[in-house]
């Protein structure tokens, strides 16, 4: 019995050599392209010792960049959280004309280069743009200011929550919501007590990815920011400026903050994925 099952296992899978080869290739690739650069970031950052590292992070321009990055994330994540839930709800629970178009539009930021996303806002709100003169008359600054950075970040990050929720909500169907309203629940009660608990892990997952991208976005933000030190620089932009000034240790020190964010995101993501599997 055991010999036949071992035999059938052998016929079903690849030879051990092929299996190990594939695993080693995958690990080597990951090591070369992910782990080595990540280690290099920390090595470079600490090249001149802990003192220089902390000084680079505590420097006022660096702190301003951290603050702006946090503000940008604090605006774009909640906006996209609400938008993502609304869009996913509409797509998963209703039938309407133009549904496919809406799904395509939600994916747009993934298919457009971030630089173009930033340029759209320059063309709209810049001095030479459509709304530029009007904005200037009313003394409103969007481009080369915080609102422009927030807008560009919102644009680039809006697919994350919606994309995560649409398949989840479509798979869950609307039976539970229908059951809730036949039992007398209001729309609001149904949403809070039935829909949200069912999608909470997927929602959190989308928020984590959205946040990581909002903090790390470079291209779109670079176009609209104007690179004003201490005022319109986010962490990625600040890293670039330091690097261009040959201030490598400081550049890598600030970059290590983003690398840490990536690691935290990875851990949080794995935890949420594990919870989603447990709940499924």
């Amino acid at each position: 019995m055991s010999s036949t099952s071992a035999q059938s296992a052998r016929t079903r899978t690849e030879p051990a050599l092929v299996r190990w080869l594939l695993i080693i290739v995958a690990l080597l690739f990951l090591g070369l392209f992910l782990f080595v650069p990540l280690a290099a970031v920390f090595a470079q950052a600490l090249e001149k010792g802990w003192g220089a590292y902390l000084a680079a992070i505590r420097e006022p321009d660096a702190l301003a960049a951290v603050k702006l990055t946090l503000i940008t994330a604090a605006i774009s994540v909640p906006v996209n959280l609400v938008f993502g839930v609304v869009a996913a709800w509409a797509i998963a629970k209703f039938e309407f004309r133009g549904k496919q178009l809406l799904i395509t539009l939600i994916d747009l930021p993934f298919s457009v280069s971030p630089v173009i996303s930033g340029l759209i806002y320059v063309l709209l709100f810049g001095l030479q743009g459509w709304l530029g003169p009007w904005l200037q008359e009313h003394d409103l600054k969007i481009i080369f200011a915080v609102p422009g950075i927030a807008l560009a970040t919102v644009f680039v990050t809006f697919p994350f929550v919606a994309r995560e929720l649409i398949p989840l909500m479509e798979a869950q169907g609307k039976d539970e919501e229908e059951a809730a309203i036949t039992l007398g629940a209001s729309g609001f009660q149904t949403f809070w007590r039935v829909t949200i608990p069912n999608i909470k892990w997927g929602l959190l997952y989308g928020v984590i990815l959205c946040n990581a991208r909002a903090m790390g976005e470079f291209g779109a933000v670079s176009v609209v920011s104007g690179h004003i030190r201490g005022s319109t620089n986010t962490i990625p932009l600040h890293v670039e400026i330091l690097y261009n000034e040959y201030n490598y240790a400081a550049a890598f020190a600030v970059a290590s903050l983003l690398a840490l964010l990536a690691l935290v995101t990875l851990v949080a993501k794995s935890f949420v994925e594990w919870r989603m599997r447990e709940n499924a």
């Binding site: 229908e178 309203i181 036949t182 039992l183 009660q189």
Partner: protein, 343 residues
């Protein structure tokens, strides 16, 4: 509470789900909507619940116009085919849901809710499982939780959409008998949808046979089975054999002889070894024992048509049939419908 459905129409794009449906469901009865898939039975049930709106026509509860009333205010209990239990809530929380979402002034106290929930769980025989989550229950248990949850708000009407459709055969039979007994205890006006004729015949007080968005016949199980109104009902409620014959009555009345078709159920075909009056000669093609019955496929000599007869085990043993042998088949009971009908 009685339900009246008056000239209800419903269209989904180019598909007609219901066309001019009229039906009265008497108070306190257990009514089955029976039909093949796509016959409109589930749509009708959802319209009664208020989960779909009819394109035309009206729904009345106890004579009172209800068509435009929101689901939430209709006081219906709805049981879904796939249970639709709230997966993140325990059994107790599921059953209590309808009570906890009531406006504060109508909401019972926590203690009263708990008592009511446990009383319902006793009714559906799930008392020990109050703290379990739906994923920890079997299909039959889940459906009973769904039923308790629907009953918690004391609905005036209980609507069940293929309530046993997702269960295994044995559990399905147990649960439908249990539902019948439960209904005899609580007497709430109930409508359930099914495509299983056996289920409808066994459980319902009245059966509404539906096909292609229309009602074909309404009657007690005995009526629809013994006096089917048309060939569709005859066919849908059991296995059937067709005998084409020229109707003598038709011949007498009309100049052109009308073609009538005789419908005979498989178990109403008598198979004999000896030629008798009205019997046709046939060859045994296939013999298959199915549980307590034996199905015999017969080829009627000279016509090339096959007839299926269902015999009891005893009857089959007595005949000791073998494939290829010649026998004589005679319909014990036949119903004629004028006109041709394709099965």
């Amino acid at each position: 509470m009685s339900i009246e459905i008056v000239s209800v129409n419903k269209q989904f794009g180019s598909f007609t789900a219901l066309s001019d449906v009229n039906l009265t469901v008497p108070s306190g009865e257990l009514t089955a909507l029976l039909g093949p898939s796509g016959s409109g039975k589930t749509t009708l049930l959802r319209i009664i619940a208020g989960l779909e709106t009819p394109d035309a026509g009206s729904i009345r509860f106890d004579g009172e116009e209800t068509t435009d009333r929101h689901v939430r205010e209709r006081q219906v209990g709805f049981v879904f085919q796939h249970y639709a239990l709230f997966r993140h809530m325990t059994v107790e929380q599921n059953v209590a849901f309808g009570l906890t979402v009531k406006p504060r002034k109508d909401r019972p106290s926590k203690k009263e809710i708990k008592e009511r929930v446990h009383e319902l769980l006793r009714l559906v025989q799930l008392e020990g499982l109050a703290d379990r989550y739906p994923s920890q229950l079997s299909g039959g248990q889940r459906q009973r939780v769904a039923l308790a949850r629907a009953l918690a708000v004391e609905p005036k009407v209980l609507l069940l959409d293929e309530p046993f459709g997702a269960l295994d055969a044995k559990v399905r039979v147990e649960l439908r008998r249990w539902l019948r007994r439960l209904h005899d205890e609580i007497h709430v006006t109930s409508v359930f949808v099914t495509h299983d004729q056996e289920e409808a015949l066994e459980v319902a007080d009245r059966i509404v046979v539906m096909n292609k968005g229309r009602i074909e016949q309404v009657g007690t199980p005995a009526e629809v089975y013994d006096q089917p109104a048309n060939p569709f009902v005859f066919d849908f409620l059991g296995s059937v054999n067709l005998f084409h014959c020229r109707s003598e009555q038709g011949q007498a009345r009309a100049a052109v002889p009308e073609l009538s078709v005789g419908y005979v159920r498989s178990h109403d075909i008598e198979v004999e070894r000896r030629q008798n009056d009205g019997a046709v000669e046939a060859e045994v093609r296939h013999i298959q024992a199915v549980g307590p019955a034996v199905r015999v496929e017969l080829l009627v000599r000279g016509t090339g048509k096959t007839v299926e007869a269902e015999l009891s085990r005893d009857g089959a043993d007595r005949l000791a049939l073998g494939v290829g042998e010649t026998v004589y088949a005679r319909p014990r009971k036949m119903q004629r419908f004028v006109g041709d009908y394709q099965i």
